[in-house]
Every structure is written in structure tokens, then in C-alpha cells.
């Protein structure tokens, strides 16, 4: 009890913070399921060579267009059936997760880095630099999105690498805008002014005092952007200008299953479900992250949630007893 009475604010242990977060996530069922599903999909992508029953490119003419196991003529060798070349759909879905997650993660990292740097420079420097940089952002935001991507990809030649580059240079603007607006407001805060009066170099101010404010908004934005990238990659791959065979991608598989929708609905259904599950679970998880990292939303939730009451009660009870 003695430590509770001291006037010094306690610094909670890291493990305790993590434990608290996990318990909060557990109590937000939608967020928890989202997290679980996205963790499973990530594990599936990482372990693809070991868990996929077949080589995703291995063709088997004898077993073409086999239906999934629960339909008549389906068998356990190909749980989700086979495609027009006799390739195992389950294996292709598992491997497809790799391209999707790889492209999504790389684009968010690259575009995020570009956007954060531009936003920091624009917000911190202000004046003419800010004007020019933000004008570039405004102009590029008005570009005709996917059409432009298609034109660029068709000239450069489609591949996974081209995809990453093109999506990165067409999606960095939103980070720059958000970072700039936060930097502009944080710059006015006394501790930043104090640091600059004390003679801190701009670099130190930016990285030491301003950047930490950006972490949680950028986290939420990055997670949400990830879903946009997944959908964009799927669309471009579906049009045949994204990931190229023999590599696999869910969008690509839907495109190749398209010619067989009259006789083999499973060819488009399962890769598409992969996309839906990924995007949906990330959306659910992102919603939890947004609410958890936003102090105002947290307060609302703190007032309502049972988990919060459980955390507050013991302290209050003790105070009353004393």
C-alpha cells in the first residue's frame, strides 16, 4: 500500500501496459477477431512453403477443374478443388497471401516514409517550402488514380516490383497531409518552442519532440492504407497488369478463374474470399487501434466498458475503505 500513497506518478511496467492492451483487445470482440484473422493470414503467408499441400504452379492435367471436397466428385487430395490447369486452389490461395501482404507492407512502408519526410519538412519549414510541397501534393491527389497506374505499368512492364514502385509513388500524399497538419499544430506547443529557444537543432526538435506525436495517428493511417493497397493491387492484378505468372496473387487467380465461372464457381470464390477476409479483418483491427489510441474515444469507452470498470473499481473501493 505504501507505494500507492506516494505522490510520485507510478511508471507502469512495460509488461503491464502490454497486458492491459491485450485485455482491452480481448474485450473488443470484433477487433480481437480481426487481429486473430490477420495474424493467421500472416502466418499462412510466412509458412506457405511448409503448409501448402502442393506447389502452386504444379499442373496436373488429369485433375482439371475438380470441385471442392464437399461437393460431389470432390476429394480430399484437393480440398478447395483445382483450376483449369489442375493446379491446387488451396495451395494457390496460401501462396497468394504472400504477394498481397508483401506488396501491401512494402508500399505502406515506402509511401509512408516519403509522406512522413515531405510532411515533416513542409510542416516544420513552413513558408515557401511548405507552399511548393503542398501544391505538389494537391496536384498529385487530382491525378486520375488507377488509369494513371495502368498507363505507367503498361509502359514500364508489369511485375511485382513495378507494382510496389508505382503504388508507392501514387499513395504517399495522404501521409504528407496528415503529418504536416500535426506538425503545424505541435510546433506551437510550448515544449517545442522551449526546445528551440534552448538551442536545439531542427533535426533534434523534429525527431525528439515532434515525431513521437505522430506515432499513433500514423499507425492507424498506415493500417487503413494497407487495406486500400491490398484492394488496388488486387484490381490491377485482376486487369492483368500487376503480379505476373508464375507468381500468384489473389487478384490474378480471380482473373484466370473468370473464364470458368459457368462451370467452376470455386475458382473465383476462394481467392476473392482471401481478399475480403484480409481487408475486413484489418478494418476491424484498425477500428480498435483508432479507438484505443484516441484519448477522447478512450474516455468514452473507459466510461462504458466493463473492462474499464474492473480496472477502476479496486482503487476506488480501497479509497472508500480507508
Amino acid at each position: 500500500m505504501a507505494d500507492r500513497l506516494s505522490s510520485k506518478p507510478q511508471t507502469p511496467k512495460r509488461l503491464a501496459i502490454l497486458g492491459g492492451l491485450v485485455s482491452e483487445l480481448w474485450h473488443d470482440k470484433a477487433g480481437f477477431i480481426g487481429f486473430l484473422v490477420i495474424a493467421l493470414i500472416t502466418a499462412m503467408a510466412l509458412l506457405a512453403p511448409w503448409i501448402a499441400p502442393y506447389d502452386p504452379a504444379a499442373q496436373n492435367v488429369m485433375a482439371r477443374l475438380q470441385p471442392p471436397v464437399w461437393l460431389a466428385n470432390g476429394d480430399w487430395n484437393h480440398i478447395l478443388g483445382t483450376d483449369n490447369l489442375g493446379r491446387d486452389v488451396l495451395s494457390r490461395v496460401i501462396w497468394g497471401a504472400r504477394s498481397t501482404l508483401l506488396i501491401g507492407a512494402s508500399v505502406v512502408l515506402i509511401a509512408g516514409t516519403i509522406g512522413v519526410i515531405v510532411g515533416l519538412v513542409a510542416g516544420y519549414a513552413g513558408g515557401r517550402v511548405d507552399g511548393v510541397l503542398m501544391r505538389i501534393v494537391d496536384i498529385q491527389v487530382s491525378f486520375p488514380g488507377i488509369l494513371m497506374i495502368l498507363l505507367i505499368v503498361s509502359v514500364l512492364g508489369p511485375s511485382t516490383l513495378t507494382m510496389i514502385i508505382v503504388l508507392s509513388i501514387t499513395n504517399w500524399m495522404i501521409y504528407a497531409r496528415q503529418v504536416r497538419s500535426i506538425v503545424m499544430s505541435v510546433r506551437q506547443v510550448p515544449y517545442v518552442e522551449a526546445a528551440s529557444v534552448m538551442g536545439c537543432r531542427p533535426r533534434r526538435i523534429i525527431f525528439r519532440h515532434i515525431l513521437p506525436n505522430l506515432v499513433t495517428p500514423l499507425l492507424t493511417l498506415g493500417i487503413l492504407e494497407f487495406t486500400n493497397i491490398v484492394l488496388a493491387e488486387a484490381a490491377v492484378s485482376f486487369l492483368g497488369l500487376g503480379v505476373q505468372p508464375p507468381a500468384t496473387s489473389w487478384g490474378l487467380d480471380v482473373a484466370s478463374g473468370r473464364d470458368y465461372i459457368f462451370i467452376a464457381w470455386w475458382l473465383i470464390t476462394f481467392p476473392g474470399l482471401g481478399i475480403v477476409l484480409t481487408v475486413l479483418s484489418i478494418n476491424l483491427f484498425a477500428n480498435w487501434v483508432r479507438v484505443t489510441t484516441d484519448p477522447q474515444e478512450r474516455e468514452k469507452r473507459f466510461a462504458y466498458s466493463r473492462a474499464a470498470r474492473r480496472m477502476v473499481r479496486p482503487a476506488e473501493d480501497r479509497a472508500v475503505v480507508r
Binding site: 486520375p144 505507367i152 465461372i261
Partner: protein
């Protein structure tokens, strides 16, 4: 107002210049138009002649000026695929795309306001949770996949609607529904969240306390207040649809609009036609942005967009 419009026009001009510069840089610096557009079997003389014809022997600066001049006069060269001026093809296909977008977005707009309001009336209730879940699902589904599933269900299984192409009004149903999906989900979510915020405002409590009928509160007070943010998002949906979603949806349903034409142009290496499409769409987007800004300024004089 005059200086405001001039400012928007200037910004629009910069956007058009930016698009032109990017297209020029991508096609002339990173790519080789000659090998893109001529078949592999073309002889060296043919390649030289073609390069000279499109001015590749000139210095880059001269090429860029000529490129801008061509764009300004809407002279995009001849479509290799259709053997006629590219701009003709664009203007022939554009109305079909606009028809598709008009139907789809119109549907999304008509439905999103009542749906969002129903959800907002009782947040956390059954209807609200249903609408929010459906919206989240709608935002998570890729449009090409939804389109294909709709074809499987309504055309292949139930045989109610045609699979693809155009002709009768029935041909428009599935593509328009597919196109409407994402905008409908996003707009409904926006109406819901801004309605909830608005209904919690103190003025709503005041007017309710003084006995105003609830429908009048919605019509006169809250709906007007969410109008600006709604129109901003609706305009943005129009732009993203025009610039991208139509390509996917038209490809799925073989709807012969500008999006399908773009994909076909790429498949046939028809760079000139592709350039014309990108440029015309960019111009349209600029125009839409200007009109929207002016409308916003007219309905809400507080807005200062300079």
C-alpha cells in the same frame, strides 16, 4: 468570387500540366514508344520512320513543347488499334461510361441517406448494427469479385439478367449495382456518423424541447448541416469512380465504355489512345473539382478555399 474562380482555374491548369508532364516523362524517358507500339517484326527502317513521325528524333525539350501543343489542340494522334483519331474513340465511349457512373452513383446517393439516417436514429440498435456490418463488408469486397459473384448468381444460376455487354436497360443493372457498392457503403457510413454527431448537438435538444416535429428537425436542421461533408465525399466518390473503378467494372461486364477501352488499348499497345483517355479523364476531374468548389462556396459562404 471572381478571384476565387481564377485561383481554381489556375490550380486546375497546374494539375493538367502535372498529368501531361508525368505521361510524357513515363512514356518518353522510361519507356520506348516505338517498341511498345510497333510489332516485334517491324524492320529497323520502319522503326526509324515511326520514330521520326512521332518526333522522337527531336531534343526532349522540343518534344515536350510539341506534346503540350498537341494536347492543347486535342490532337492525340491516330489510334493504332481503331485506325482513326484517338480523340474520336474517346468521345464515342465517354457517354457510355458517364451513363454507367450516373446510374450507379445515383443509386448510391439515393439509398445512402435513408440508410445512414435509419442507422443513426438508434445507434447500437439492431438496424444500426446490421447497416454498419453490411457497410464494413461492402468496403472490404473488391468490386471485380462482387461483379463476378453477381454474374454467377443472377445470370448463371437464376438466369434473370444478361452477363455482359450492353443493349437493353437490363444490361445496366448488374454493372451499376457493382459500381454503386463501395460508394454506397462509404456514403452510408458518413451519413450515419455525422448524423449521430449532429443529433447529439445541444441545438437539437433545444428544438426538440420546444416541440418541433422530429421530421422537421431532420429536414431543416440536421440534414442541411451534414450536406457539405456529404457532398465532399460524394464528389470524391465521383472522381475515384471516374478515375478507376469503372475500369474494373467495365472489364468484368464487358461494358464498352472508356474503362474497357483503356484496358483494350493497353493490351494492343495503343499508347496514343491510352494517353488520350488519361488526359480527357484528368480534364474531367479538374472540371468536377472546380464545379464542386464553386458550389460549396455558394451554399456555405464561410468556406474560404483560397
Amino acid at each position: 468570387m471572381g478571384s476565387f474562380i481564377v485561383c481554381r482555374l489556375w490550380h486546375g491548369l497546374l494539375v493538367v500540366l502535372g498529368v501531361s508532364f508525368t505521361v510524357f516523362a513515363v512514356t518518353r524517358l522510361f519507356g520506348d514508344p516505338v517498341s511498345l507500339m510497333l510489332p516485334l517484326s517491324a524492320s529497323a527502317e520502319q522503326r526509324m520512320a515511326f520514330a521520326q513521325e512521332i518526333g522522337l528524333d527531336q531534343p526532349l525539350f522540343v518534344q515536350f513543347i510539341r506534346f503540350l501543343g498537341d494536347l492543347a489542340t486535342f490532337d492525340f494522334g491516330e489510334s493504332l488499334w481503331q485506325r482513326r483519331p484517338a480523340i474520336e474513340v474517346v468521345f464515342e465511349r465517354l457517354p457510355l461510361t458517364l451513363m454507367l457512373i450516373g446510374t450507379g452513383l445515383g443509386f448510391a446517393i439515393l439509398l445512402s441517406i435513408p440508410l445512414g439516417m435509419i442507422a443513426a436514429l438508434r445507434p447500437g440498435g439492431f438496424l444500426d448494427r446490421f447497416i454498419v456490418s453490411a457497410g464494413l463488408l461492402g468496403l472490404s469486397m473488391p468490386q471485380f469479385w462482387v461483379g463476378l459473384l453477381l454474374i454467377v448468381v443472377f445470370s448463371v444460376q437464376l438466369k434473370l439478367l444478361p452477363t455482359s455487354g450492353m443493349g437493353t436497360p437490363l444490361h445496366l443493372v448488374l454493372p451499376a449495382l457493382t459500381l454503386a457498392l463501395t460508394p454506397l457503403a462509404r456514403l452510408t457510413m458518413l451519413v450515419r456518423s455525422s448524423m449521430i454527431d449532429e443529433l447529439n448537438q445541444h441545438y437539437v435538444r433545444t428544438v426538440r424541447a420546444k416541440g418541433l416535429p422530429f421530421t422537421r428537425i431532420l429536414r431543416v436542421h440536421t440534414l442541411r448541416n451534414i450536406l457539405i461533408s456529404y457532398m465532399t465525399l460524394a464528389g470524391w466518390e465521383l472522381i475515384t469512380t471516374l478515375a478507376g473503378y469503372t475500369v474494373v467494372v467495365e472489364t468484368v461486364f464487358a461494358w464498352p465504355g472508356l474503362g474497357l477501352t483503356a484496358v483494350q488499348a493497353i493490351q494492343r499497345g495503343d499508347l496514343f489512345l491510352m494517353q488520350a483517355i488519361v488526359f480527357v479523364i484528368a480534364l474531367l476531374i479538374v472540371l468536377i473539382n472546380i464545379v464542386l468548389d464553386i458550389v460549396f462556396k455558394m451554399i456555405d459562404p464561410r468556406i474560404n478555399l483560397n
